[in-house]
């Protein structure tokens, strides 16, 4: 290659680079009459089921808003749409995609990914570019002790998931004329940030009542078997057994307590619906207490979906299944954005951040009110008990649709 030729090529490359910089991002934050949100979701990889729920939750709101006149900012009504990428269920990829959404696509309104891990991957990036992110699926409390200013979460943080189960145990002890401190608690949670938060919440509440924690097992991530823990439960006979290990933990807990006939008055777990324990195990799943962020039976109201029940109906009509809370909280995240855009009356990200921080909004999903760290402090977790294959809200009292059946009947009596 001659030297002249090389110089020409170098010049051309240089020109192209300048051209790219001048042209700026391909997509803009607002295209004509459409506001574009950006989201990296898990379409492949281990979170793909919940990634789908998240997308359905987002899309349902987009459809509803666009059908009912759009978002009013200034004097103009805007339609909304979402630009999606696949984060492959990995936090690092979610971080890269946040960068791409903001820098290359020029998007100024970010919706959260699925799960605490990917959210942790994205938050530093949105923070760096000072672009607000409203998320509905990152519950780990480690997201909210880093001083992030641009992160807002509509869901209850993970330490609240099963704390209510301790309250239920204390209440039942009082009813039986016993001191709550006589209650013995067993904890078996996966060794990951989400479940360790749950453990922290349960430990705090148990300590408050003076209860004794007699089993405190941390299940490995490659969990395949809970025999050792359950044998310990059989030997020490605790009053409450708390299990958290995503769908795998929920499935193993129900299957193996039934197989090994482990009798414990209260069994409280997470991810009942995600693991479809009722569909898998039928009557063996009965009397289990399940933590949930939201349920269609709740009585919240809003101007978009009218009520929780109506939301569930709309969702089921559109996608053919009852919305799990993962979908509902995703929908709520979009609603919070819509509300903030209308109140701020501007597309200025700094102004939007402040408006988001001042949010006080009732949605079909629950009240949203962010504290200084960006987490929602206005919506409690709900505990439901599986009774004859149905999820019945039993605590806190405000949402209870039925009474908790205590203790779980012994296996020999079923």
């Amino acid at each position: 290659m001659s030297r002249k030729f090389k110089v020409v090529i170098a010049l051309l490359v240089g020109l192209a680079a300048v051209g790219l910089v001048v042209a700026g991002p391909v997509g803009a934050k607002v295209e004509d009459d459409t506001i574009v949100f950006g989201a990296a979701l898990s379409f492949t990889g281990k979170y793909s089921t919940n990634g789908k729920h998240t997308k359905n939750g987002y899309d349902l709101v987009v459809k509803r808003i666009n059908e009912t006149g759009g978002v009013k900012v200034g004097d103009k009504s805007y339609k909304i749409k979402i630009k999606y990428y696949d984060d492959e269920s990995t936090p690092a990829r979610a971080g890269q995609l946040a960068d791409r959404l903001i820098k290359q696509d020029g998007i100024k309104f970010i919706l959260g990914p699925y799960g605490s891990g990917p959210t942790k991957g994205m938050a530093p990036i949105t923070e760096k570019y000072k672009i607000p992110m409203v998320e509905g699926n990152g519950a780990s409390r480690s997201l909210f002790n880093k001083g992030y200013r641009y992160l807002f979460a509509v869901l209850s943080t993970s330490e609240q998931y099963l704390a209510e189960a301790i309250a239920v145990a204390a209440e039942q002890a009082k009813k039986a004329g016993k001191d709550p401190s006589s209650i013995k608690v067993a904890i078996a949670v996966e060794n990951d940030p989400f479940s360790m938060d749950i453990r922290a919440g349960v430990l705090e509440d148990a300590e408050r009542y003076g209860m004794k924690v007699i089993i405190d097992d941390k299940l490995p991530k490659e969990l395949t078997d809970m025999t050792a823990t359950l044998t310990k439960v059989k030997a020490l006979k605790p009053d409450v057994l708390v299990v958290s290990g995503h769908s795998k933990g929920a499935t193993l807990a129900i299957r193996q307590t039934a197989q090994m006939k482990v009798d414990v008055p209260i069994l409280a777990i997470t991810h009942c619906e995600a693991a479809d324990v009722v569909g898998k195990f039928g009557a063996n799943a009965d009397y289990t207490l399940c933590a949930t962020q939201w349920a269609p039976t709740m009585t919240y109201k809003d101007r978009w979906f009218v009520s929780s029940g109506e939301y569930a109906k709309t969702f089921e009509k559109e996608y053919g299944y009852v919305p799990p809370y993962q979908a509902a909280e995703s929908s709520a995240a979009v609603l919070v954005w819509v509300d903030a855009l209308e109140r701020a009356n501007s597309f200025d990200t700094e102004k939007l951040r402040d408006t988001l921080a001042a949010t006080k909004l009732e949605t079909f999903y629950g009240w949203v009110d962010f504290d200084d760290t960006g987490k929602n402090i206005a919506k409690p977790m709900v505990l439901r008990q599986i009774q004859k294959g149905k999820y019945v809200p039993v605590a806190p009292a405000k949402f209870a649709a039925g009474k908790v059946i205590y203790p779980r009947p012994k296996w020999s009596e079923r």
């Binding site: 492949t44 089921t49 490659e222 059989k234």
Partner: protein, 299 residues
Amino acid sequence: MESLQILFTAPIFSLQLLIDGILIGAIFALAAYGMALVWGVMKIINFAQGELVILGGFIVFSLNKAGLNAFLCIPLAAVAMFVVGWLLYHIVIVRIVEKDLFISILATFGIAILLQQLMNQVFGADVQVVESELGTWFLFDGNVTVVQIKVVSFFIALMLGVCLAFFMKKTRLGQAIRATAQDARAARILGVNTNKVYATTFGLNGAVCGAAGGLVVMTWVVQPYAGLAYTIRSFMIVIVAGIGNVAGVVFAGLGLGAAENFAGFILGTEFQAAFVFSLLVVILVCRNFKLRLQRSYLK
């Protein structure tokens, strides 16, 4: 140490742990047997072992969902997985057999990732189970429970192990496999089609994993990303037992199951894996020490 006290004050729970551990160990041993076979014959450490087990589980799950009896699905899954193993050999393994060990580790690791993603696409990321419709036996006032499916799994695993050992000893193909394991070049000179032997060996490994997967989905759960635990356990069992030692693999499998259960009970589940791997190091150090004491000379 409180947990250790329980075992002394109520020794009945030791029995529970021991029974469960041994029954669990049989399933590990089955998967490990496949790994030992491939390792011994082809000098390949198959890091996709766990994924083959999980795939077998998913096949049983799908067939069962289609209305077939769960136990009938196991041989079907084994046959299907034999084909999968045979195909995998002809597509990938044939290119790495008799190459550097490192290359085989990389290639099988790649297969593992590919299988995970494929299973995720085809079967979804959800955790799945198959109900065996079997119950539980109560012993000692219900203090010891014996889960029937685990007992059945134990005997199926043992039976398969015995069948395989018989196959290797008595059939022409088994003999050819053993000959190839001893010296592939010499076997070729004597007219053994080593390519066919390798394909069959990998297919057999697939079949064994398929059966193990069927037992796993009936006893515990399967999920596209849950394979690693079975790969690691198989690897460990083979290391302890030594390649080409069927009885060793079975005993190491049962021992590992029991050791894991006791460690989980006494130390807590977070130390379960750590304990087992520490045990592996101790066994290797002891073995090395014993070997050094042996006098070496040129034969």
